[in-house]
Amino acid sequence: MLEARELACLRGERVVFAGLSFALEAGTALLLTGANGAGKSSLLRLLAGLIPPAEGVLLWQGQDALADRAAHARRLRYLSHQDALKPALTARENLAFFARLWGGDAEAALAALDLLPLADLPARVLSAGQKRRLALARLALGADAPLWLLDEPTVGLDTASVARLGALLARHRAAGGMVIAATHLPLPLPDARELRL
């Protein structure tokens, strides 16, 4: 279980958000909504441990999650705005690197997002939507990370790919995983609670 207590985030001198509390049980999903600049991306980065909270604590199973950041990193997958792909490497090489880091099956993950026909193309020639799919394929590697933090996961995706993402999210939640997603678009996340920033 993930619990946030009175989290606050500063950007320079500006308070992005403060006094933010929520709890997330296994198998549930949380949708972050709010206007541009409301702090959705900052909250996801904070939850990932990439930026420290200005105030408040983040608890994982009742323990301070950010005390051991390497352990926290291992239990989460973070999908940022950027796709984190190397243009010079092929789609397969990009994914195989993460498969070697985390374990998991790169071929199955490529198949899950229908990327096998593009697997040997360098990432630089892929379209924006295809790159997004390749970034999402990291989630399909299947290595067990219970917490998924997704920043606008469906930007640029066609409807078939959104459905594939939906299947991926449903499987993850059925296995007890948690999803926190920031979005402006409808997401295939049934019975997700909404947190308005």
Partner: protein
């Protein structure tokens, strides 16, 4: 360790896909070394006297070239966040970057050392010592440079700030390296100087990645 090797392999693969970066550093090294004969004129003894210091300075300047993109490219495309969340720890990420920098920039410079040494009229007896001194000095610079690159990441004009930060710290490597080459040119043993240089590398080996890791984490 497996994850660390995966990261190192990725860095080397990327360097192979962009061979121009390595080639640019090697060309820069040879060209800077070639400037000295033009400036000093056709006096072989004067040139040979300057050769050790000129070799070290040219090699360190050339090795600086790829440093400002070391973390910059990964920060821009979001890869850096993923590396910091890879479970490796920021210091291990920095150590892999430093190792890759030495393998893809330091080692190729050694291959070009005989060319530069010949242009500077360095006696052939001193070439092995020159190659060893440059290899160690380049390793020292890779380590310092990784810390510098992590510190200047995201800074405006980071590319200018980086040499200002790193080069003063590299002075001991120039002193010991040049002294080693000079000793070999005078038919003395370069061993004590090279050992001192190796000691510098040994000291930087744990410290520089830790400093770089702390800087990356603070980003």
């Amino acid at each position: 360790m497996r994850a660390w090797l995966a990261l190192l392999a990725r860095e080397l693969r990327l360097a192979l896909r962009h061979p121009a970066d390595t080639l640019a550093a090697v060309m820069f090294f040879v060209l800077v070394a070639a400037l000295f004969p033009f400036g000093i004129g056709p006096a072989p003894e004067a040139l040979a006297r300057l050769a050790p210091g000129a070799l070290l300075a040219s090699a360190l300047l050339a090795a600086l070239l790829p440093l400002d993109r070391m973390f910059g490219a990964d920060a821009e495309d979001g890869s850096l966040d993923q590396l910091l969340l890879s479970g490796l720890g920021p210091a291990a990420v920095a150590a892999a970057k430093a190792a890759a920098h030495w393998l893809t920039t330091g080692l190729p410079l050694l291959a070009a050392t005989p060319i530069a040494a010949a242009m500077l009229n360095l006696p052939v007896e001193a070439w092995p010592a020159a190659i060893m001194a440059l290899g160690l000095a380049a390793a020292f610079l890779s380590l310092l440079g990784t810390a510098g690159a992590a510190l200047t990441l995201g800074a405006r004009r980071g590319g200018v700030l980086l040499p200002l930060l790193v080069l003063p710290l590299a002075i001991p490597a120039v002193i010991f390296g040049a002294a080693g080459i000079e000793a070999a040119a005078a038919a003395l043993s370069p061993r004590p100087y090279l050992l001192l240089l190796a000691a510098l590398v040994a000291a930087a080996l744990p410290l520089a990645p830790l400093a770089a890791g702390a800087a990356l984490r603070g980003e």
